[in-house]
């Protein structure tokens, strides 16, 4: 932790700035999708079916003549929203479980962490598929499924450092001047864990993008006609030899967004923990 603050004081590295800039650019493209998309992502055109990249449709069109660029931008938006919602929810629930476990110890900790162990025992896709089988397919269900799958990760991640911080002198002194449990957790323990959380959020959002794309690809995620990258890839596959563009570009988009999130988290972790750089 001492190393972390020292390297941050020196200012972020150039690589971190570049990684952050790419991430910001991707998020901006997703947020501004309704403004910058050249076409309505749902507008069909029989005459413009399965076109390659060209002047009107930069990335070409799909089997219904819908503009690929516009669909990818909107799909990107949906992917990021689902993955941010899922990871945010997992952080909220899992983080609370981790902090509460570390703070109260004893039976509370034993039972909560055991529950987390059980959830963590399922392979990611299997648990997600099970949850979707129960709740039915769709964007919200996908987000909920990913959130449930990731909850134990945040519980475990926050419990460890929270244990250390909870035993530290400044928490003891806060307690000695009569600060409440909630105040100590929110004002003294949480800020010390911010960097760990930011790194993990970025990395998990990257894998959440991939899980969401996998589920949509299997037809279990976002339902048509709403654009989603995984579903575009799955539809594009049916016309692969006729017109590979939909499959090519939608997959590339998944790769790019997963990459910028993961790269940002990776570089940020190196900055905070420079031992092995």
């Amino acid at each position: 932790m001492a190393g972390a603050s020292a390297s941050l004081r020196r200012g972020p590295s150039r690589v971190l700035l570049v990684a952050g800039a790419f991430l910001a650019l991707t998020v901006a493209a997703a947020l501004l999708a309704p403004v910058i998309a050249p076409f309505d992502p749902l507008a069909q055109s029989v005459l413009a079916r399965l076109q390659g990249p060209g002047a009107t449709h930069f990335l070409g069109t799909d089997q219904f003549g819908r503009d690929l660029l516009s669909r990818i931008l909107h799909g990107l938006r949906a992917s990021l929203a689902i993955s941010f919602g899922a990871v945010g929810l997992a952080l909220l629930v899992g983080g609370t479980i981790g902090l509460v476990s570390a703070y109260y110890r004893g039976w509370t900790e034993r039972i909560l962490m055991r529950l987390m162990d059980i959830l963590f025992a399922f392979p990611v896709m299997l648990l997600a598929i099970g949850i979707i089988a129960v709740l039915g397919p769709g964007a919200t269900t996908t987000a909920a499924a990913i959130a449930i799958v990731y909850t134990p990760i945040f519980a475990r991640l926050l419990r460890g450092p929270a244990l250390v911080v909870a035993q530290s002198d400044y928490v003891m002194s806060a307690r000695s001047i009569g600060a409440s449990d909630a105040r100590i957790i929110v004002h003294h323990i949480l800020p010390n864990l911010a960097s760990v959380v930011l790194v993990q959020m970025s990395l998990l959002m990257s894998t959440a993008i991939l899980v969401e794309a996998s589920l949509s690809f299997l037809g279990l995620g976002t339902q048509p006609p709403t654009p989603s990258l995984g579903m575009m890839l799955s539809e594009g596959r049916n016309f692969l030899l006729l017109s590979p563009w939909a499959a090519l570009f939608s997959g590339l988009a998944i790769l790019v967004v997963a990459f910028v999130l993961n790269f940002f988290g990776d570089v940020l972790r190196d900055t905070l923990d420079p031992r092995l750089r």
Partner: protein, 316 residues
């Protein structure tokens, strides 16, 4: 190895397996609305008689505790129930689909793990030569490339370059060993790339860590060659975290295989699961999820023990 360590691990295992069985059991009971009507509705006309009949058949008319005991008793004695519509034993359905998935997962792990060692060592050796950022970009790209997209692109490339090559589907190894491997090699590579990236990064940082240790300095002082230091002293210790990550890799492989199988038309567990969802075959779905998860948990248990055996410090 310490007996107490094994016993405590075993008790953890029992608790987790019990929890997993409860979660899986509750799945069908948590379906909003009437699960029986939903199951029937996907396949036949819903009539009150049919609903009662199905309810009785899968035991949903019993008290919930009795249902669980009945179900878990069956599972423990190897009776996973019968598939809803074909009435075939669920265990037979799974047995008919499990081999392609296992083969695919093992082949990917072998490809990824074999290539990861030399690649990781190379990455460690290239440290501090201006390659750092390129290697980092490359390895993160390897981690985040969607396997199913990579698979589709490989199919596209091969269909363009060599249209005569048969690459989709599955033939059992016992029928046609070469055809079997030929069809599995592309999906295995697609699935292996993230594993390769992950493991190579692990080997790299473990190597860098190992190279800073005192015993390396001692070896250097004794005049051991750089080559022997790298491969004999550092690599051996760098492989310890490699072993532990095999457990995590298994989870990734089981998840990834489900999707990649669809791309290459491989009739594995992915097809079984998706079919079960489409026809609301909850008993089949439950049994498959339970069985695969038990395998995953068991692999992790063995990995824990192997790790403790390699590095006895963890048992203390």
């Amino acid at each position: 190895m310490r007996r107490r360590f094994i016993l405590s691990r075993l008790s953890d295992l029992v608790v987790v397996l019990f929890g997993v069985s409860v979660v899986t059991f509750l799945m069908i009971r948590l379906v909003p609305g009437d699960a029986v009507a939903i199951m029937l509705g996907a396949n036949a006309e819903v009539t009150p008689e049919r609903m009662d009949e199905l309810r009785a058949r899968i035991g949903l008319d019993q008290p919930i505790l009795l249902q669980y005991l009945d179900w878990i008793g069956g599972v423990l004695t190897g009776n996973l129930g019968e598939s809803l519509w074909t009435r075939r034993p669920v265990i037979d359905e799974i047995a008919a689909h499990v081999w392609p998935t296992i083969q695919l997962a093992v082949l990917s792990l072998v490809i990824g793990a074999t290539l990861a060692v030399p690649l990781g060592v190379l990455m460690a050796r290239l440290r501090g030569r201006g390659w750092e950022i390129g290697l980092q970009i490359g390895s993160v790209a390897g981690l985040t490339v969607p396997s199913f997209w990579l698979g589709i692109m490989m199919i596209l490339a091969l269909a363009t370059l060599a249209p005569s090559v048969q690459m989709l589907g599955y033939v059992p190894f016992t029928q046609d060993p070469l055809g079997n491997l030929a069809r599995l090699v592309l999906p295995a590579i697609a699935l292996a790339l993230p594993i390769l990236a992950n493991l190579a990064r692990l080997v790299r940082s473990a190597m860098l860590d190992a190279l800073q240790q005192d015993y390396i300095r001692t070896a250097r002082a004794k005049g051991v060659s750089e080559r022997a230091i790298l491969y004999k002293h550092a690599l051996r210790n760098a492989l310890i975290p490699f072993v532990t990550s095999v457990g995590i890799m298994t989870g990734y492989l089981l998840s990834g295989a489900i999707v990649v199988e669809q791309v290459f038309a491989i009739p594995g567990l992915g097809r079984l699961l998706l079919g079960a969802i489409a026809e609301r075959n909850y008993p089949l779905l439950q049994a498959t999820i339970l069985l695969v998860t038990v395998v995953f948990v068991a692999v992790n248990f063995v990995v824990d023990l192997v790790y403790a055996w390699i590095d006895p410090r963890v048992t203390r």
